[in-house]
């Protein structure tokens, strides 16, 4: 009986490592085009708007500047997560750490308002790193001490964090000059802590710098540092790792701490810049999307950078398509969903080849 099956390659295919994402984008363009056509829109126009507007046309300069703003939190969070994912440590609660990090920074900023001095910004970043890290330490400690699944605890803590955010936005952090409306003071208008463009109009704020630094640091860590080696070994061969002197508990703590801290900082950079206000709608799912970004980037820092930018393009271009072509919000979300499916699906070609034919007899 003829059948299709997968056969593991002796070595990962370099052709498919780079080719698979391109094929996935092409497949998404075809499937998405069909969807847009079904919606009665010109598919070529829709696809062109989503992928090209950020780079061409008279407003390209602005849209280009929005790419780093959208990509930075994804890249910053995903780089941290990838460390753990490589070692088989599943922090899927980055969204919660992002929220708590932002709230920690905001707590410092609002407590010291209207004190001046740019050093406050540094303190807020430190607070957000610590806040995100501590929130991630809850699942880490439970994992190491009691063997509780970090997947489940970190996920549950997302909802706890969201409830804390909601309560602070309408309660303790409410703007005293806001006529009773929910939401804090606008921190992007508080010069001491604002996270604004470093070069005006480029969209490059301190979070973008931090994201680039994290990619660089991640790259060096994984290729040069002993910890990077331990992470790789722990992920590939957990039993061998023990013989190689890896302390699994310590590795869990380090990976969770790093990913929590980076997610927390991402939250603060977003709050002090693009968002400005502690509001119920502050978190828009970067922590979850970053998990997908980490896998799209093959858990590799540079890959994550590329994946983050690709998603940013679909966000920015997708929103342009919504207004200029009147596409419903749901169609853009579906389009992104398809893109992720295809990227995740075709990744298999890197490590496996498809064999069509009779089952091997060996």
């Amino acid at each position: 009986m003829a059948m299709i099956r997968l056969e593991r390659r002796a070595d990962p295919s370099n052709f498919w490592r780079y080719g698979a994402p391109l094929v996935a984008v092409l497949a998404t363009i075809i499937a998405g085009g069909i969807m847009f056509a079904l919606l009665g829109k010109n598919p070529v126009e829709a696809i062109r708007t989503i992928f090209w507007t950020p780079f061409t046309g008279r407003n390209a300069a602005y849209y280009l500047s929005q790419l780093p703003i959208k990509a930075a939190p994804l890249v910053l969070i995903a780089t941290g997560l990838a460390l753990g994912f490589r070692a088989g440590i599943w922090n899927i609660g980055a969204e919660g750490q992002y929220v708590i990090g932002a709230l920690s920074g905001a707590a410092v900023a609002l407590a010291l308002y209207p004190m001046e001095g740019r050093w406050l910004f540094i303190i807020c970043i430190a607070a957000s790193l610590a806040g995100g890290m501590l929130w991630a330490m809850i699942p880490a400690v439970l994992k190491v001490r009691l063997g509780v699944s970090e997947i489940l605890v970190s996920l549950m803590l997302v909802y706890v964090a969201e409830n804390i955010l909601a309560s602070l936005a309408v309660g303790a952090m409410k703007n005293p000059e806001g006529y009773g409306f929910p939401g804090s003071r606008n921190l992007s208008q508080y010069p001491a802590v604002a996270n604004l463009d470093i070069w005006s109009g480029t969209g490059i704020h301190w979070g973008v710098i931090a994201a680039l630094l994290s990619v660089l640091a991640g790259q060096i860590l994984l290729s040069r540092h002993i910890l990077g080696f331990q992470i790789q070994v722990a992920g590939l061969a957990p039993r061998a790792a023990r013989f190689a002197g890896v302390a699994p508990g310590r590795l869990v703590m380090v990976c969770m701490a790093a990913s929590g801290a980076l997610a927390g900082a991402a939250g603060w950079f977003e709050l002090a810049g693009p968002s400005g206000i502690v509001s119920v709608d502050f978190n828009v799912g970067y922590g979850f999307t970053a998990i997908i970004v980490a896998f799209l980037g093959r858990l590799h820092p540079v890959g994550i950078l590329l994946a983050g930018v690709l998603l940013a393009v679909t966000y920015v271009g997708g929103d342009v398509a919504r207004s200029s072509l009147g596409l419903p919000a749901g169609s853009i979300q579906s389009f992104q969903g398809m893109l992720l499916f295809f990227l995740l699906a075709l990744d298999v070609l890197t490590a496996y080849r498809i064999r069509i034919g009779r089952k091997a007899r060996a």
Partner: protein
């Protein structure tokens, strides 16, 4: 009639020209952008803003082009989407939710030639006008109806978040209901969400099970009305005319009718007379509408409600007319006076008689 107003219009223009006012650019075509916080299919708040956009399109025909973006969260993406509308050539942009306030101010500073209109906020600029509706005026009408309709003297009230707009509504309804029925009491449930059909349905059910036989809501979904229809009790629609969801249950609704305002403001763009303003519009201006009361209601009561509605439309009656006390017994409006707008916009207290505590 038409001709007369046309003549009046040209006369006014002529006077303006004669008075030596700077000639303002008259536009042949205007592009207007709208951003909504939720889906336009919510059949409530966002749906009504979109109806207002469609009213404006019908009014101006081909001269007006509109674009809209729905489902824009009140977070980091809002500023980019506003900028995008400005870059796409919108002459005027309506930001229809409170949380769009700071992004609107920021983007307006970057596009001095584009006019912005922000709903329900409090920050203006040379090119940012604000507009809001006196939702509480409708509450006075339905409060009276609710007070007369309840047999258990328990009225259920489903509310989103404790902000002045909402508290003002509770107070206005309570004042009217107590006037109609001195024994009436409110049961209030906060769901901390503007549109959450499941929670609204659960809250409505809880209120009915605790003895309420009339429901009011400041939340946006029609779930409570649908439930009221099934249980055979009375309820009032919010934001949109919800009678279709409760042909028997829906006594009437408080409808946000933004069309007249959008037409007026876009019209000013055409004749070049747009200027920043701060308008709080209600039933007299037709921005808040209380539609025909359900025919299954006793005609006498309908007439009473109509009379209250007309007295508000004619500005003869203000829902916050003294003497009025706060919940703690201190007076906030003296006898014969009416509450000023500042008091209303900062209303973070219940009026006397409400047996509930305001969440902090």
């Amino acid at each position: 009639m038409k001709r007369r107003s046309f003549l009046a219009g040209t006369a006014a223009a002529a006077t303006a020209a004669a008075a030596g006012l700077p000639a303002r650019a008259q536009a042949d075509k205007i592009k207007a952008g709208f951003i909504y916080v939720g889906p336009i299919t919510d059949m409530g708040y966002n749906y009504q803003h979109n109806v207002g956009r469609e009213d404006a399109m019908a009014h101006f025909g081909d001269a007006l082009e509109t674009v809209y973006v729905e489902n824009v969260p009140e977070g980091p993406d809002c500023e980019r989407i506003l900028t995008q509308l400005a870059l796409d050539g919108c002459d005027i942009i309506f930001a229809t939710s409170f949380g769009f306030m700071d992004p609107t101010i920021n983007v307006a500073a970057k596009f001095p030639d584009v006019k912005f209109e922000h709903a329900t906020g409090f920050k203006t600029a040379d090119n940012v006008a604000i507009y809001n509706a006196r939702f509480y005026e409708g509450r006075a009408v339905i409060g009276h109806l609710a007070g007369k309709l309840t047999k258990s003297n328990q009225i259920g009230y489903i509310v989103p978040v404790p902000i002045p707009e909402v508290i003002m509504g509770i107070n206005a309804a309570f004042i009217a209901a107590r006037k109609a029925n001195p024994d009436v009491q409110f049961k209030i449930i906060w769901i901390y969400d503007w549109h959450n059909p499941q929670k609204e349905a659960d809250a409505a059910k809880a209120l009915v099970e605790q003895g309420c036989d009339v429901l009011m809501q400041h939340t946006d979904s029609n779930a409570p009305i649908t439930l009221a229809e099934e249980l055979g009790i009375h309820a009032f629609g919010q934001a949109a005319d919800m009678s279709a969801y409760g042909p028997n249950a829906c006594v009437t609704s408080i409808v946000d009718n933004w069309g007249p305002y959008y037409i007026e403001r876009i019209g000013m763009m055409f004749d070049g007379s747009w200027a920043t303003s701060d308008q709080w519009l209600g039933m007299p201006e037709g921005v808040i509408v209380v539609p025909e009361i359900n025919a299954n209601i006793d005609p006498e009561l309908r007439a009473e409600a109509d009379a209250i509605r007309d007295s508000i439309i004619n500005r003869e009656y203000h829902p916050f007319t003294g003497p009025l006390n706060k919940q703690d017994g201190t007076e906030f409006v003296a006898a014969g006076e009416v509450a000023d707008d500042g008091t209303l916009l900062n209303m973070m207290f219940y009026v006397e008689g409400i047996d509930a505590e305001l969440p902090s």
